[in-house]
């Protein structure tokens, strides 16, 4: 369906990543945001708090991140698209309710504008050290989707995609920005509302007597209903059966957890997204995401000047990880080079998928700044030997 024009600020703008993300959410049809201030993400909600009152949206600054995530999960059950915004310390606080959203299969978007960690860390400086937490942060087995934009324009475009993926797979989507992209101001082109396609909340057409909140109806995910429409449904964070009632048995646990994971794992090819450049015949492939992808480009150019055959794979959807492609590439190249602003996170996935057929060289950076392109170049050149 086409989005509601009231939320679309059509035009050519000069915006920072945070503002662009906020605009993306409003363009995607998000109408409820609960947040808590935390640098460097606060600008997203500041923008939304200013613009929501003219488009029928409600923003509330909750008392903490736990409340924000709980409110966002609750609000999603009224059929509204919801979002919350935070950074590292708040992300840790939200984990329990992210698990609740994953278990209840509630679509929502959680934006994490990453900063240096751990703990209070570097509040105003960049990091990319929450990538594993995005996938594994909450307890238990579950799968979700995480994306990483590399520019304010992508922060706008991918936020809309994040909402669409959340609706399609009924899953909380982690939007992993970083402080550099969040605080970087660049040109952002926002198209006309008719050009923006959004996935609407699909509601069940069954009667309240027939409707079962977790019964599959030929689609990969069950259909939702809205609280207040007379369905009198029940949903819980406990392991539940098709009716949403707690059913704490070994059989049900197997069915439930497997299904939450399968809805992503079996549809991985439709969800995974990356950009590849010159990987044909390459000896080294650089794998990067977020701001590091832009820095890595310079490192790649420098390495190519030295005659190294280097390709580039940029992760757009970071989780689920593009295992298939990495495995394929591993068979034909010498080494992957993975620069990231952390001391080893996505490189572990690359290494796992490479399966020993190619090396996975990590170019770490503890955080606070971006890589020196020379260092990346040096790593590429050495990896190619």
């Amino acid at each position: 369906m086409k989005t509601d024009p009231k939320g679309v600020l059509t035009g050519v703008h000069y915006l920072d990543g945070d503002y662009a993300c906020g605009e993306g959410a409003m363009a995607a049809g998000c109408r409820f945001v609960a947040g808590y201030p935390i640098t460097p993400s606060t600008e997203v909600v500041e923008r939304i708090s200013r613009r929501f009152p003219v488009m029928g949206g409600t923003f509330i600054q909750m008392e903490d991140e736990l409340a924000s995530m709980a409110a966002v999960t609750g609000a999603a059950w009224t059929g509204t698209k919801t979002m919350t915004v935070t950074s590292g310390p708040g992300f840790s606080l939200m984990m329990e309710n992210i698990g609740l959203a994953a278990m209840m299969e509630t679509p929502c978007v959680v934006v994490n504008v990453q900063r240096g960690g751990p703990s209070t860390g570097l509040p105003t400086m960049v990091g990319q050290a929450d990538m594993m937490q995005a996938r594994w942060g909450s307890h238990g087995d579950y799968e979700l989707i995480a994306m990483s934009p590399q520019s304010p324009q992508e922060a706008f475009d991918l936020t809309i995609d994040a909402f669409n993926l959340a609706e399609t797979y009924r899953v909380p989507v982690m939007f992993m920005m970083d402080e550099c992209v969040g605080h970087m101001t660049e040109k952002v082109v926002i198209p006309e509302a008719e050009e923006i396609d959004i996935v609407p909340r699909v509601l069940s057409d069954k009667t309240p007597e027939e409707y079962k909140p977790y019964a599959l109806n030929g689609r990969p995910v069950p259909e939702m209903v809205r609280a207040g429409d007379g369905y009198r449904f029940h949903t819980t964070g406990l392991t539940h059966d098709d009716r949403g009632y707690p059913d704490m048995s070994v059989e049900r646990q197997q069915i439930n957890v497997q299904r939450i994971m399968d809805k992503i794992l079996l549809n991985v090819d439709d969800i995974v997204r990356f950009e590849e450049e010159e990987t044909e015949g390459a000896d080294v492939v650089v794998v990067a995401y977020g701001i590091t992808a832009r820095v890595a480009r310079m490192g790649i150019d420098l390495a190519r000047e030295q005659g190294v055959k280097v390709g580039f794979l940029r992760l757009v959807v970071v989780w689920p990880f593009p295992e298939k492609r990495i495995r394929e590439l591993a068979g034909s190249i010498k080494s992957f080079v993975v620069p990231e602003i952390n001391l080893g996170q996505m490189v572990l996935e690359v290494e796992r998928c490479a399966g020993g057929k190619a090396q996975a060289v990590h170019v770490p950076h503890a955080g606070g700044g971006v890589h020196d392109p020379e260092k990346i170049c040096k790593a590429i050149v050495e990896a190619a030997r």
Partner: protein, 296 residues
Amino acid sequence: MSATAHPPNPNDHPIAPYLRMDRMPHIWCPTCGIGTVVKCFASALEEADIDLDKVAITSGIGCTGRVAGYMNLDAFHATHGRAIPFATGLKLARPELEAVVFSGDGDLSGIGGNHFIHAARRNMDMLVILVNNFIYGMTGGQNAPTTPISAKSSTMPFGNFERPFNLPHLAASCGATFVSRWTCLHIRRLTKCMRMAMRRKGFRFIEVIAPCSTLYSRLNRLGGGLELMRFYHDNAKIQHGIDTREVDIGFQDTIVCGNFVDEEKPTFLDMMNTHYEEVLGEEYVPMAPDGGWLHD
């Protein structure tokens, strides 16, 4: 004449339309008071004559946290302590809903304490029914923020030395506009109080003292639920309108009950709408009462 030979159909019980009868019998212990509070709530729903399709009930974790799962309403079983913000999200994203939070003392005043005080402060429009059994029941009888001094629990085996909350005072001082306390023995007054609360707006708080026979009462050798009910009968004092500072509960001491606070103040949404209308005038587009769901 014995009435035990052929029990009649459970669906004939007057509470049946309000419960998920396919989930009966419930899990609460013999002589637990939660079932009584649920019956009073169901009666109040009937008497208050509100549209049940628009009532959304949220519970947290714990014995009282199981209430949502048994009610035949849009029911949510959220995480521990987070029933209030969950209900806040429901209410704000679909303002026509009547948000009810039905949870326990540990859930709402312990882990959920922060959310409790802020929702009261904001006068968020929701009805909070807190069943206080002075203990964390579901997890085996640990000390709760409401456990009276000297009462034993599994984590204070020599008796509690920590000061407990005075919940009506907490709610009132944070700005709740309707504050009451009853015990589950006061079935008529409790039902009437719930009915009154359902017809009001704002942050409405009802504390209900209930017996926990398996844990609180057993660990403190107070008998069973019936003995505690007899205690409530002899020691509950009704004092409407009393200053909430005076209503602390000591161990096996007087329980002051009554309707303590009953005011009318603008709710969070009232204040938000009034303010934006003033500041933004024609430009203000409030969220529709039936919510922010975008559709063709």
